[in-house]
């Protein structure tokens, strides 16, 4: 630690930081634009000037850019010396000479870093009377709106987009004051992480296009902490509502999980909650005419009387919902809602993580790894934020180069200059090319069976005691040998695999590689991806698979938040459902399953309910209800409790907290999740935490057209937050942070004030609780040694291909995401395409395990012979797709 003096006060700071970070961490407001905790400093905006003194006797000092000076021992600086203040106000005045008079129509207004910094720097009146330079805008796709006039040339966007997120279609053009940030031509931004530009850009150049459609100011949003529901990573989000619809999703800082960023699916997939496919009314026998809550429940009571019930939960529903359903129907009659195959895969992955001696990493730990080996996954499409973390992880090893040259890592430009394009080892074995290939040292494309075998070869070269699969070519062994030596050359290797290529041997091989590295004394991590937001939670809760539960004879079926047609073939599900007298479905969006329901009960999405998800790391995280909808919608677990009450088997539990507590009492594996958040009676200074800001507007007018008398606001019995602006507005416990705000800091960068040290952990610790830790005693090498893949006659073997937009059920119902979803497709290599006599872009009829689908042919030459990549999770695609026959 270094001792430095800021404004005459002494502080102990990390000498590896710069003076700007040190000053902000110490609580001083120093304005800045180009610096970002994740991007480092480049000193381009000149806004963070402070005065640095030579020693105690120096009274004059000199102006320095605090972001470009190390916080070295004995530094003496002043952030409020008059020459620094004057310099900063001159700089902001210059930056603002071209800024348009746009704030009233700018979506960034009210949470704009430029507004905050302008006020902080003391610039008020425009003195520059000459013309403003203007720019033409570009169309950047359905997610991002472009308004180049507002640019202040801080370069954050390209540094984030290119250097951090690995995109290459956003760049900076032209020179001097004409500098332009955009694409070479109009077009959709290709990066899966383009949405973060909205938060990274300090002004309104890049804004959220979905928010623009239902524009709302930050202060008018009712916000609550939430967890993204669109994949198994479990990124922390803040969801905002106004006038009964969800308006936007913002990232919620969690150092361990997503840090500052989100992927585009998480940020823009929220609109499924506002879609016209939402179920908001009770439906009995296909009609909602004249159906009320009472009549629907009368129907249910009659239907359930003396009948045996089966309950099917869901990996996209919360733990509490699954638990409540299990409680209603009994352990024997409860299914987690996964097909047998998917259940086995997920169970294998979880058991491996629990019984092995390799730890599953959080995204932060991923970022600290040094070499990466990916087996069988296209991570960018299946767990996008993990891919972003891997991009950071492989930079670690090259950082020593900068260290040796004495360049601190925050000094971005010279560090980048010395590192150039070098990066640590990343090896990918997958069925076909993926987005991470651009930074991969080697790739191996083959069928899942061969990927597993390849994994075992790598494991053998790490630990020669492990057996070597037979019949390998020289090319494969030399590739594997290189991977083994690369992984052994670093102290912290990471092995990534997942359930998405639907092959148990791949998971087992990945585990063997990791265990072998552990035996070799490496600090190795093993990360498995899962399909849905709560797959891990549902499997940990335990229940039967779909096939198993349907063997039980029963008359009534209750399905909660699950579309069974996404689990098994249409034929199978049709025949299963036809055996039941009543099919009761609780869901929030219309699906193929709701079409078969005799009764549909409307329930809330994750923004209209409290709940807990367990992510791929095994981290249990709590999400909260954002607002109370005006329709009949309530939480799924509460709806199940209503059913229990209606059939005279009422539960003792009253509110969310009770359900969580009894979940823990009945399931020891979840011990501790009741402490994820303070209980509902928790108060700060005698008040609940407010979901609405102090400046929330319009509450005596927004419903005045319906009723001019304002009704008593609804109280939240389930959490320690209030639904109104009444309540505590200071810094809440980290699991209850409803939005980021500090005096003078209206933008999301107020996060600085919530962190112990800028870019580090939050005051009060990062929320979430790890449920899976390696037991270390019970591990074994799997050594399953599968047979090599063989092309069988005319048939093709189907490999699921996941797409970030389209493969996930809920986000593909969102309006903006829909624009990015392609048609259902089949990927073939040219040889197989020629054999089947089909051409690229042709729409053909194929049979997937006997179920016909119409798909578009795309040529993918790195796909092995005899394989067909099928768009997984797309509408009308059989989830069982092992055998593919082309019908034409």
């Amino acid at each position: 630690m270094a001792k430095i003096k800021i404004n005459g006060k002494e502080f102990e700071v990390d000498p590896k930081k710069n003076l700007l970070e040190a000053s902000i961490s110490a609580g001083y407001d120093v304005p800045y634009f180009c610096w970002h905790p994740k991007l480092g400093s480049i000193g381009s905006c000149r806004q963070c000037a402070v005065v640095k003194y030579r020693d105690e006797n120096d009274t004059v000092g000199r102006l320095v850019m605090s972001c470009m000076e190390p916080a070295s021992e004995g530094s003496i600086i002043s952030t409020d010396a008059s020459q620094a203040v004057e310099f900063r106000s001159n700089v902001i005045e210059a930056l603002m000479t071209n800024h348009p008079h746009d704030c009233p129509v700018c979506d960034e207004g009210g949470e704009c870093h430029l507004q905050d910094m302008t006020v902080m720097s003391g610039h008020q009146t425009r003195r520059y009377e000459f013309g403003k330079r203007t720019h033409k805008n570009q169309y950047l796709g359905p997610f991002i709106n472009h308004e180049m006039n507002r640019c202040i040339q801080c370069y954050r966007c390209v540094r984030y987009y290119r250097d951090y997120a690995g995109g290459d279609d956003l760049n900076v053009f032209s020179s001097r004051n004409r500098v332009y940030f955009g694409r070479a031509n109009d077009g959709v931004l290709e990066s899966e992480f383009s949405g973060n530009l909205v938060e990274v850009c300090p002004t309104g150049v890049f804004t959220d296009k979905t928010l623009k459609k239902h524009h709302t100011r930050k202060w008018d949003l009712t916000t609550a902490p939430s967890i993204c529901t669109h994949c198994s990573v479990g990124c922390n989000t803040i969801v905002g509502e106004r006038y009964g619809t969800i308006r936007r999703v913002y990232s919620r800082y969690n150092e361990q999980v997503n840090g500052y960023f989100l992927c585009d699916r998480g940020r823009f997939g929220y609109e499924f909650m506002n879609s016209d496919k939402r179920i908001k009314k009770f439906v009995v026998n296909g009609s909602f005419d004249g159906v009320t809550k009472e009549s629907a429940f009368d129907f249910i009571v009659k239907a359930l009387k003396g009948k045996k019930i089966i309950g099917i939960g869901s990996p996209r529903a919360s733990l509490e919902t699954n638990f409540t359903l299990k409680q209603l129907v009994g352990n024997e009659n409860f299914s987690v809602g996964l097909s047998h195959k998917d259940y086995q895969l997920a169970k294998l992955a979880i058991d491996t993580l629990k019984n092995g001696n390799v730890r599953t990493p959080s995204l932060k730990e991923v970022e600290q790894c040094e070499s990466v080996f990916v087996l069988g996954e296209d991570i960018t499409n299946t767990a996008p934020m993990l891919a972003l973390s891997i991009r950071q992880a492989i930079k670690n090893i090259t950082k020593t180069k900068a260290d040796k040259a004495g360049i601190p890592l925050w000094n971005d430009a010279p560090a980048r200059e010395i590192i150039q394009d070098a990066h640590g080892p990343l090896h990918i074995a997958a069925p076909m090319a993926s987005r991470l290939d651009d930074v991969a040292n080697s790739t191996y494309f083959s069928a899942p069976e061969n990927i597993a075998r390849f994994g075992y070869v790598v494991a053998h070269f790490i630990d020669s005691k492990l057996s070597l699969p037979s019949g390998l070519t020289e090319e494969v062994t030399s590739k594997a040998r290189k991977i083994a030596s690369d992984l052994l050359s670093t102290a912290k290797p990471l092995i990534v695999s997942g359930v998405h290529c639907k092959n148990e041997d791949v998971l087992k091989a990945a585990s063997d590689v990791a265990q072998a590295l552990k035996t070799a004394g490496k600090d190795v991590r093993l990360s498995y991806t899962f399909e849905e937001s709560n797959t891990v939670g549902a499997v940990l809760l335990d229940g039967k698979s779909l096939e198993e539960v349907f063997e039980t004879k029963a008359e009534v079926l209750i399905i909660v938040e699950n579309d069974l047609y996404r689990r098994l073939s249409t034929e199978k599900i049709d025949s299963y459902l036809s055996k039941f007298e009543q099919v009761i479905v609780l869901d929030h969006n219309c699906t193929s399953t709701t079409k078969k329901a005799t009764v549909i009960l409307p329930v809330g999405t994750f923004t209209e309910a409290d709940g807990t998800f367990v992510n791929m790391e095994g981290r249990a995280q709590r999400f909260y209800q954002v607002f109370v909808p005006e329709s009949d919608t309530i939480e799924s677990w509460r709806r199940i409790a209503q059913i229990a009450t209606a059939i005279d088997k009422p539960f003792d539990q009253k509110n969310f907290y009770d359900f969580t507590e009894s979940l823990v009492i009945n399931n020891a594996q979840f011990t501790g999740i009741e402490t994820l958040a303070p209980p509902p009676d928790f108060k700060v200074q005698g008040q609940k935490i407010a979901r609405e800001s102090l400046r929330y507007s319009g509450r005596t007018a927004m419903k005045a057209n319906i009723n001019v008398h304002e009704l008593k606001p609804i109280e939240d019995a389930d959490s320690a937050m209030s639904f109104t602006m009444e309540g505590y507005h200071g810094q809440a416990p980290t699991s209850l942070i409803t939005s980021y705000w500090a005096p003078g800091w209206n933008s999301a960068q107020a996060i600085n004030k919530y962190q112990i040290e800028v870019g580090g952990a939050l005051h009060g610790g990062d929320p979430g609780l790890r449920l899976i830790e390696p037991s270390k005693t019970n591990f074994k090498f799997y050594q399953s040694n599968p047979d090599a893949f063989k092309v069988s006659g005319s048939g093709l073997k189907g490999v699921p291909v996941y797409k970030i937009f389209g493969s996930e059920e809920l986000s593909s119902k969102a309006a903006a995401v829909k624009e990015r979803v392609s048609e259902s497709f089949i990927l073939l290599n040219s040889k197989d395409a020629a054999k089947a006599d089909v051409k690229a872009d042709e729409t053909i009829e194929i049979s997937l395990n006997g179920q016909l689908s119409s798909v578009k042919v795309l040529i993918q030459d790195d796909l092995a012979d005899g394989l067909a990549g099928i768009s997984a999770g797309y509408c009308g695609i059989n989830p069982e797709m092992t055998d593919v026959t082309i019908k034409k």
């Binding site: 348009p100 008079h101 746009d102 704030c103 009233p104 129509v105 207004g109 009210g110 009377e129 000459f130 013309g131 403003k132 330079r133 203007t134 720019h135 033409k136 805008n137 308004e147 006039n149 507002r150 053009f173 032209s174 020179s175 001097r176 004409r178 332009y180 955009g182 623009k212 459609k213 239902h214 524009h215 709302t216 100011r217 202060w219 008018d220 006038y243 400046r695 929330y696 507007s697 319009g698 509450r699 005596t700 007018a701 927004m702 005045a704 057209n705 009723n707 001019v708 008398h709």
Partner: protein, 171 residues
């Protein structure tokens, strides 16, 4: 005794003084243009709605009686989808007018808005929008702002240079 007489004298004097009471409603009081009465939404010199739905009036309102929703039309202009003022809550403080960056919302010298039924005091956009420019003449926000709208492209606003040719090679 003397003070009693003085008081009676004063009272008598006032009997012949000029009347301050106005025979309302037959006679109307003469109010200044800046009087803070009924709120209106004005139009710009081209006859288009001035309000751009920035929510500043709603944020400034101390009794939270303004609520609106912004939306965009094809020309790129932003305007309020609905704009509601609950006059039964309004305290006519004029903060909304002060906050308005486009001179759209203005208070007028009309105070005769009493109703028997409270719900009739809830004014929607059609009730608030007037045909003219109100007190502030000549101001057109989109002429000053950098946003392009149909009929005013980039670089055609006041004090704006023509759009930069990004591919230009001149130093």
């Amino acid at each position: 005794m003397l003070s009693h007489l003085r008081s009676i004298g004063l009272a008598l004097k006032h009997t012949f003084a000029k009347r301050e009471t106005i025979q309302y409603p037959d006679e109307k009081v003469d109010l200044a243009a800046r009087y803070r009465g009924r709120i209106v939404l004005t139009r710009d010199p081209d006859g288009m709605e001035r309000c751009v739905g920035c929510y500043l009036c709603a944020a400034a309102c101390p009794v939270d009686c303004i609520s609106l929703q912004a939306t965009n039309d094809e020309s790129g202009r932003r305007y309020p989808e609905f704009f509601r003022i609950n006059f039964s809550r309004c305290i006519f403080c004029g903060y909304c007018e002060e906050a308005c960056p486009t001179y759209a919302i203005q208070l007028t010298p009309d105070y005769e808005i009493s109703e028997y039924d409270r719900k009739n005091l809830v004014y929607e956009k059609e009730d608030l929008l007037i045909a003219g420019q109100g007190k502030q003449h000549g101001y057109n926000f989109y002429r000053v702002a950098g946003m392009a709208i149909t009929g005013k492209d980039k670089g055609e606003g006041q004090n704006e240079l023509p759009p930069v040719d990004v591919k230009g090679l001149m130093p």
